[in-house]
Symmetry: C2
Subunit: 235 residues, 2 copies
């Protein structure tokens, strides 16, 4: 029950903890837990892949620099997910950067050790493969829904996915949450322009579906939102 990944919450449990006990010592040495504040980078685009990361708690964003030197937020990492493994596996440098969006606790494992573990333990490799298969499926699913659903409902889904819940009273009514990211990052995640983001927010505001003050959102009638995102998914 050390401080290491033996007790991580989600995927890590499956992937890293399937080691024989005698390897735990080794693992502990190669492992580090670190806290990051919002905005703090975990690694930069172009860095060498010298470690494997797992998010325990918080929220991490994967960014890439656009052709005009502007950074766009590509995707989010939720707690329990492993990240930074692609560059590590292909042996290339990171093709995107990672940065904390909420205060985060991140566990990192040295690249050499990670590779050795994969090569030594078929079980670990197997778990990893399953993990990546799932990742791949998710990505493809995202593509599909992104093509199908309009930006408006995608935004609502995003809100609920990343919003830090602040209070939720009663059953299905009045929810209040904090969005941990800027408007332009929201826009980038949805694949739309900041102006469009602005308009969508304004529309939701006017229709009384959600009230925005800065990064805080108040949703008077959660069921209305639920209905809209559900219905569109069915179609």
């Amino acid at each position: 029950m050390g401080r290491c990944c033996t007790n991580c919450t989600d995927f890590l449990v499956n992937e890293w903890s399937s080691l024989d006990p005698e390897n735990h010592h080794d693992l502990n040495k190669a492992t580090r837990h670190q806290r990051y504040l919002p905005g703090e980078p975990v690694y930069h685009e172009g860095d060498a892949a010298d470690a494997l990361f797992c998010l325990h708690d918080g929220l991490v964003g994967i960014r890439k620099l656009g052709p005009e030197g502007e950074s766009v937020l590509l995707r989010l990492v939720q707690p329990g997910q492993t990240f930074g493994f692609r560059a590590l596996l292909t042996g290339t440098e990171h093709r995107a950067g990672a940065e904390a969006l909420k205060p985060s606790l991140i566990c990192s494992l040295q690249a050499g050790t990670a590779r050795r573990m994969i090569d030594d333990s078929p079980l670990v490799a197997r778990r990893f493969l399953e993990h990546m298969a799932t990742d791949l499926a998710e990505t493809e699913a995202k593509v599909l829904e992104s093509a199908a659903a309009p930006a408006r409902v995608r935004f609502m889904r995003l809100m609920l996915a990343v919003g830090e819940r602040r209070s939720s009273l009663g059953e299905g009514r009045e929810v209040c949450l904090d969005l941990p990211i800027s408007r332009q990052d929201l826009a980038a995640l949805l694949g739309i322009r900041p102006e469009s983001m602005s308009r969508i927010i304004k529309a939701l505001q006017k229709e009384g579906i959600a009230h925005f003050t800065g990064r805080r959102v108040r949703i008077p009638f959660m069921d209305r939102v639920a209905e809209e995102i559900g219905q569109e998914a069915a179609v």
Copy 2:
């Protein structure tokens, strides 16, 4: 130098041929090569994942049934690529079907053997991981470019990618090729409606960039196409 995957052309070389020689016999027994005609299914959506497939030659399409029961072409498998591994790894049933689009030669490996190979040989597992990492990267890249480039240039890229080259005279001039798939499938691949597909083709026709007769395409000035798809990629 048997008839098996020891001599496959592309990925297979890396993934399956890294076995010790004594395993070759085993591998040969669990392996089958089979030819498929265009339209012939390799497996269906919902089937159990009882094998791993590799496309030697030809073209394979991955289809999924839409909510209205209509099948949409999701993505293509090019020669040298392994497919059907996601369901196999996750142990679930196939979430999409596969069918030959061109006459194809496909090699299949029984699920049990595949799993055993992965579990027994870290090297094989490793290669597989790298393969999936690449796949994942490709998928993500596709998402990006799909958002950026208009359907018209995506279509031109697609043409060149899947078109069976029939003749190409001189340097960069007059290319003639056959599209192995129907208009609606083209549309589905591009994420647009058949009507829009039709209009795009008509436009290209009118501008003299390409001439379509059935599934045959004649491109008088290849450099014009190259320029358009290149330029958009840069922006």
